[in-house]
Symmetry: C2
Subunit: 494 residues, 2 copies
């Protein structure tokens, strides 16, 4: 059939093919069954879900391709593509076995993850996999098996035979943007830290989004290697290197279901680090009722699993639990967090929580990487920051990545104020994150929230709580509608 580009994009991973309901393939496949077909060009093949369209939208011999399908098949308009049966997805038998509570082998995870990355799992399959692994949690062997499968299905980086340090934050704490500060400190002290980060999937900002407001992050592997060779570190987007590509598929579905099984969290985190070629890893683990890890007990379970699997892969790991009751820093959203990062690097007063957290994490990395004896890392990290050494290194990294720039400012703002007097006894991180996202973050880089209060602050009526920043009036309005409807973001008590 002749390929026709349809400018539509779903956020599901499975691409879509558009076909007239009166065409033979559609009649054969039927309508009610979430049918999938195989579409092949000279450059590759995809499994696509079928969407039926009315006859005015396509010619009889045309097949419409969504943007994802169009990009995958790399065809010209009108080029012929082959349309046929989607092959049976062999690993679904393994998925079914887990639904009934059976253990899965390394080979089973390999088969499942391979099919996931090849786009053969639709939302129903992905959701079933995530649910089955929450209903019947992965044991240690299975977590190792899933981790290995996720590493093996993507690319793998190597940085020579020396120490390569890395950092990960388990997440759930808005504004917790320590990475650029930590990389600057650690690289200034001579440890190799080639940090690849993701863009936000469901949070208001990922490290790559925030860094991008300060310098280019969209580097290919050759450029990344040049920066690292020159500066000993980088803060880039990992997109050009396919590290653990199954992770995004799985995380997207986990978020919809609000499921975060320990085994899948461990595999998600460690597969990316192992694929990135890291040898030494510090994990920041904020703990709080509205963070990702909701209690100390949950933290212990997750830590044990992380350490056991990391050990199995020869990855030296140290976990740093910390408070997770409220955001870190003042900004939530790419540009707003970037301003906090700059303020800390420049040793501006304020932002003590962000500064001390970054120092603590950098210190742990300096110790783990053998740059300093145990219990003296934080002091060295603090000195590196205070002396301006970290700030200088950060500027050099930005220049090496393509040039440093000023983060943008949002044109539209509105401040939420306290409706009654009292003390701030609770801050809901999840709702803050949602509000920042509705304001446009991270797609709108200047959008997000600017916090004005912390837990425990006493407030009077009219006291500024947080300012919503948005790039357009419409986004501001949309975000404020949510804040008005779901007011319990800040808990104020007598």
């Amino acid at each position: 059939m002749r390929a026709r580009r349809i400018g539509l994009s779903t956020s599901q991973h499975q691409p879509t093919a558009y076909m007239r309901s009166d065409c033979d393939v559609c009649r054969s496949e039927g309508f009610a069954a979430r049918s999938e077909i195989l579409v092949a060009s000279g450059h590759g093949e995809i499994v696509a879900g079928i969407v039926h369209c009315s006859p005015e939208l396509l010619h009889g011999d045309e097949i419409g391709l969504c943007e994802k399908a169009w990009a995958s098949l790399r065809v010209e308009p009108g080029e012929l593509v082959a349309v046929g049966h989607a092959p049976t997805v062999a690993s679904l038998g393994e998925l079914r076995r887990r639904v009934y509570g059976n253990r899965l082998s390394q080979g089973s995870f390999q088969a499942i993850i391979t099919d996931v990355v090849a786009g053969r799992y639709n939302d129903v399959h992905l959701a079933s996999f995530v649910t089955a692994c929450s209903a019947f949690p992965l044991d240690l062997d299975e977590t190792m098996g899933l981790t290995r499968a996720m590493v093996d299905v993507g690319d793998r980086l190597s940085w020579g035979s020396g120490i390569v340090v890395d950092k990960h934050s388990v997440g759930g704490l808005p504004g917790n943007r320590t990475t650029p500060i930590v990389v600057a400190i650690v690289a200034a002290q001579g440890l190799l830290m080639p940090k690849t980060s993701s863009r936000a999937i469901t949070s208001p900002a990922g490290t790559a989004d925030t860094m991008e407001t300060l310098a280019p992050v969209d580097l290919n592997l050759a450029a990344i290697r040049r920066v690292v060779e020159q500066e000993g570190g980088c803060i880039v987007w990992g997109g050009s290197v396919r590290l653990s590509p199954a992770d995004d598929f799985i995380i997207g579905v986990e978020r919809v279901l609000d499921l975060d099984a320990v085994g899948q969290m461990v595999a998600s985190v460690l597969s990316k680090k192992i694929a990135a070629g890291s040898t030494h890893l510090v994990i920041d683990m904020p703990i709080g009722p509205s963070a990702k890890v909701r209690s100390e007990a949950a933290g212990i379970v997750l830590s044990d699993a992380l350490l056991a699997v990391a050990r199995g892969f020869g990855l030296e790991t140290r976990i740093m639990p910390g408070p997770g009751l409220e955001p870190v820093g003042r900004g939530i959203g790419p540009a707003l967090e970037a301003r906090d990062v700059l303020a800390v690097l420049r040793n501006n007063p304020g932002l003590e929580d962000l500064r001390s957290r970054a120092i603590e994490l950098a210190g742990a990395i300096l110790e783990l990487g053998g740059r300093t004896p145990p219990r003296s890392g934080a002091e060295l990290a603090a000195q590196t920051l205070a002396s301006g050494s970290a700030w200088e290194k950060f500027q050099r990294i930005c220049e090496a990545q393509g040039g440093m720039r000023e983060p943008p400012c949002a044109a539209h703002r509105h401040t939420l104020t306290a409706a009654r007097p009292g003390r701030i006894t609770g801050i809901d991180n999840r709702k803050l994150a949602k509000l920042a996202k509705l304001a446009g973050a991270p797609a709108a880089k200047a959008a997000g929230l600017e916090m004005h209060v912390r837990l425990g602050d006493a407030v009077e009526i009219g006291r500024e709580l947080c300012t919503v920043h948005a790039e357009t009036h419409g986004e501001l309005h949309y975000a404020l509608a949510y804040a008005a409807a779901d007011g319990a973001i800040f808990t104020v008590a007598e």
Copy 2:
């Protein structure tokens, strides 16, 4: 925003809204998160998944609506609709509880099923629910709770205070089209059998599809009541009456995952019968490795659950296990099965398996409904058929429903033949059903398969096994490609 009809239809239940990626709602909602919005018109509101479209496809103030959304909102082109946040789906907390193995109350099922029918569950949510109920099967109380919730969320029919008989086939056996024959026999003997049936969801034909080739089935409730009052029975499509509307949502996802948990099967079957107002029910249960119920043991488990729940609702039920090793009759597909039905009603020779199965089921209904003493139902049923009484009643029912007609014939055919000599030792019902569907059934009413052999038959090279019928050459070709690739439909052994 101004509503614009987009002639696209997905087979998922959740409707789709199309928005320009540069519009404020899209920027707010973000892209990566399977976002959903609430769209409201004067006639109702829907939760829709967002698909981003490029700016050439819509004006800046337009929102595109898929066919399902357009039908639900009942707006005129260009009419204004309100676009806002999709409300939090409260029952997802209950879904999550089941994912972690907790029991669900009647109220929990009520909440979940209400949200499902309101379209608030997308494919990810539905798949998680189905998976959780397979991972942790429903106990008897829960099965009752789910059944009640599925009844309560839809319409309910009443036929006065007398006996109302019904029949259900658990399925998985192509061509097992006994209902029209059974209704004719039973109604000819004076029992009330107001049979509402579904169209096929994933099989090559549903009773409604097959019957529609013989008479109109698309009757509204008033018309259905008129037919039943006049003839004591009917064979219609249940579409105008919303009986257990959650069933289709759940079945669609179960089929994709090939999951058929006992509790959900029981709730699916019985909720429809209870809602239909039936008082006495005979269940045909074919058992075989490629039928829905794969073994005697599985049949016992399902039967026990069906009987226990039916008893709880005061529904008199009798289960008739039977052979499920091969199709019943010769035809698979609406028109082909209709021809078998006519042949049996007219007492044409042949089709003994279909005839005797229909007699057995009708006989059980006659006994259960008190028309005849135990163990004499089959004889009365056989007489009713042989005398022409059932054929006369069937013709009268067809006339009452709007007029009897001749089933169509397929223009294109191809016969599959035996490649080697031997004996037919196995027939794969699932693959036969798939082949019939790929040939176009049930959308193409004349399409399907015509069987020429039965289990145990001796065949020589070139012996006709089955003929594929299709309305277009393209569908025939598509189906034959499948048959060629997946040849093990008939197992022939020395």
